[in-house]
């Protein structure tokens, strides 16, 4: 091989290898299925009826924390909430509206968190659940920057409380968010928050948005519903009944 040939071949390799690599990873980015239970025919969504949600009740928050070993360090800077309750009030005092609202991951159809994740640790399953692969997350926290709903958290500290031995706790250094209790849904059970709420107020409902006869589809059809900041175009799959404001 002469020098010219060598340079030619090196050039082909230098250009070709990255191209081949990109073509190799391109089709699997954005959404990918990881579980045998996640199917494209089903699309999980949640309806939260704020008329039913009790103001001082945090049973959903507690059950979620217990089920998923969500870390509580007693310091709001590092506490993790897959679901949290906030009270909102109208900025116009004359209106005087006040409401207690559960906030959780919206499992967007176009999730900005999954778009920015450099290692595809956050991805949307075929059944619409946005989930974090904690074994892959490198802890760059770009998803927290990209999520416009402040629904993403980070394990800044080691979590020493392992309530539920049937579900793994996460090491420090990885991102966190609600996953609709995917492990329970895959087993045919309801997410911990929904199950708990149904025994108390019945404000949370989960179901298949693709099935027009499902409870969630019926609730969405029969009630005026809103999603958080629909103007972002992220297509959230958590619907609120009775959410005040614009």
């Amino acid at each position: 091989m002469d020098r010219r040939d060598f340079l030619k071949r090196s050039g082909v390799f230098l250009v070709g290898a990255p191209c081949a690599y990109v073509l190799h990873v391109l089709p699997v980015s954005g959404a990918r299925a990881s579980s045998g239970h996640a199917t494209a025919t089903r699309r999980w969504g949640m309806v939260i009826d704020l008329h039913k949600c009790l103001e001082d009740c945090t049973a959903c928050v507690e059950s979620c924390r217990h089920e998923n070993n969500v870390a509580l360090h007693g310091d709001e800077r590092w506490d993790v909430y897959w679901i949290r309750k906030v009270d909102i009030e109208s900025k116009e005092p004359a209106v005087g509206t006040e409401e207690s609202v559960p906030l959780l991951c919206n499992h967007c159809d176009d999730p900005p968190c999954a778009l920015v994740c450099p290692v595809q640790a956050t991805y949307r399953r075929d059944d619409g659940i946005v989930i974090v692969d904690h074994h892959r997350c490198i802890g760059c926290r770009y998803c927290m920057i990209a999520c416009p709903y402040n629904a993403r958290f980070f394990n800044y500290k080691e979590n020493h409380d392992w309530h539920n031995k049937n579900y793994p706790k996460r090491s420090h250094g990885v991102a966190e968010a609600c996953n609709f209790c995917a492990h329970r849904l895959d087993d045919g059970r309801l997410p911990a928050c929904v199950e708990t709420c149904q025994g108390i107020a019945g404000a949370l409902t989960i179901g298949d948005l693709n099935d027009p006869h499902s409870e969630v589809s019926r609730l969405i059809a029969d009630n005026p519903v809103k999603r958080l900041r629909e103007d972002f175009g992220t297509e959230p799959k958590v619907y609120y009944i009775g959410l005040p404001g614009r």
Binding site: Y81, V86, S90, K91, P118, C140, A146, F154, Y156, G173
Partner: protein, 415 residues
């Protein structure tokens, strides 16, 4: 133009003390990173509301500083100003080091540093700016190495090709870095102008740093440097400052003019101590004062004033980088338009970010690593030109400052 290169002697106790101090800084940074890796990054000042802190500020600052090579290569590779070629080796070497510093800052900032060398390669997401940018940085480092090799071996054609490639690639690097923020749906991040502003600020900080490094090196090693070269770089720096200022002004005017983003703009411009960094650090100290110094003929042709202005720009651009990263996070997203959150287990309002001591150590550590590489590079690699003279210097200087004594000015640069 025939240029001789001469590594510095580096045998004095002062030299080895400097290497020692930089090595200690590097070790301190490594220790701090190890501590955070073992115990968690709560040891930094970062929180759930402010997940990006000093390391990201430093990373984008370093990336911007690497633009010195872009300026020098552009000057002789595209505009044919051959008198700047002697600085090309040092500029390319510095660019490489700053990109390494940027990458190091990002790597040491990760929650799971142990996975950084595996997952981004095995499961890359080609749509993520955090995948695209490290690829651009690594590509830039590679191009710098090829460019350096061509310069060391006096390969004329390869040097020419590489110098143009460096310019194009560096613009992609700086735009891409701005896009990390600009392409996310956060009120104070989203902006098509941010990548442009990033390039403009990178050019000013890169040019300012080149002025400082070149002058310091020539002064310390007592080599001849014609003032005209620095004066011309200073003029260029002044133009970069004005362009950056213009883009930043338009970006903020746009945010302020639109009703939906006015609240965020008010917070950015006046809502807290970061506003001092913006008005005092970036606008006054980092832009207006140095631009006035550099545009005024008397000060713009005096080495001391040019150096002073360069220091101000380097400080001002750090403030600009801080303003890109932090206020966009401390300002809360509006989850419920028309409503406000009155009770929550978390802080849903304006967040606070306090830089921790360990974060500062990490940042100093990165500085130590590249500082060591730079100082050792000067000793062991033929980077520094033995002298730098302008082509037809007297004509250029006379045109710029008809009243000044050219010979005196040139001599003052040597002292």
């Amino acid at each position: 133009m025939d240029v001789k290169f001469k590594p510095i002697d580096g045998n004095t106790p002062r030299y080895w003390t400097l290497v020692g101090i930089l090595a200690v800084l590097a070790l301190a940074g490594a220790w701090s990173t190890w501590l955070m890796f073992k115990q968690g990054i709560y040891l930094s000042g970062m929180t759930n509301r402010v997940p990006w802190g000093l390391q990201i500020v430093m990373a984008i600052y370093y990336i911007g500083l690497s633009a010195g090579s872009l300026v020098v290569s552009g000057l002789y590779g595209i505009f044919g100003k051959a008198e700047y070629k002697p600085f090309a080796r040092m500029a390319a070497y510095l660019a490489m080091l700053f990109l390494i510093a940027g990458l190091l800052s990002i790597i040491t900032d990760q929650g799971r540093t142990d996975r950084v060398f595996i997952e981004p390669f095995s499961h890359a997401n080609p749509w993520s700016m955090f995948s695209i940018n490290p690829s651009l940085y690594i590509g830039h480092i590679t191009i710098c190495i090829i460019y350096l090799w061509a310069l060391f071996n006096e390969k004329y054609r390869l040097t020419k090709v590489a110098s143009v490639t460096v310019v194009a690639w560096a613009i992609a690097v700086h735009s891409g870095t701005g896009a990390i923020f600009a392409f996310t749906p956060r009120e104070l991040y989203t902006s098509p102008l941010l990548p442009v502003a990033f390039v403009a600020a990178a050019l000013s900080s890169g040019a300012a740093l080149m002025i400082l490094v070149i002058t310091a090196l020539f002064k310390i090693t007592k080599r001849h440097l014609d003032l005209g070269l620095i004066v011309w770089l200073g003029r260029l720096l002044a133009v970069f400052i004005v362009v950056a200022l213009y883009v930043i002004m338009i970006e903020n005017l746009h945010r302020f003019y639109l009703i939906e983003s006015r609240h965020a703009a008010m917070y950015y411009l006046f809502g807290g101590w970061h506003a001092f960094l913006f008005w005092g650090g970036l606008i006054l100290v980092g832009s207006i004062v140095p631009a006035l110094i550099l545009f005024k003929t008397k000060t713009g042709t005096s080495l001391r004033w040019i150096l002073f202005a360069s220091v101000l720009v380097v400080v001002g651009v750090w403030c600009e980088r801080y303003m890109i990263v932090i206020p966009g996070q401390t300002f809360p997203p509006e989850l419920f338009p028309g409503m406000e959150i009155v009770r929550s287990p978390l802080n849903e309002g304006i967040a606070v970010y306090n830089i921790s001591f360990l974060e500062v150590l990490q940042a100093l550590g990165v500085l130590g690593v590249i500082g060591c590489m730079f100082v050792l590079g000067l000793k062991y690699l033929p980077l520094a030109p033995a002298e730098a003279r302008t082509v037809g210097e007297s004509q250029m200087l006379k045109h710029m400052m008809p009243d000044a004594e050219v010979t005196e000015a040139a001599v003052s640069a040597e002292n």
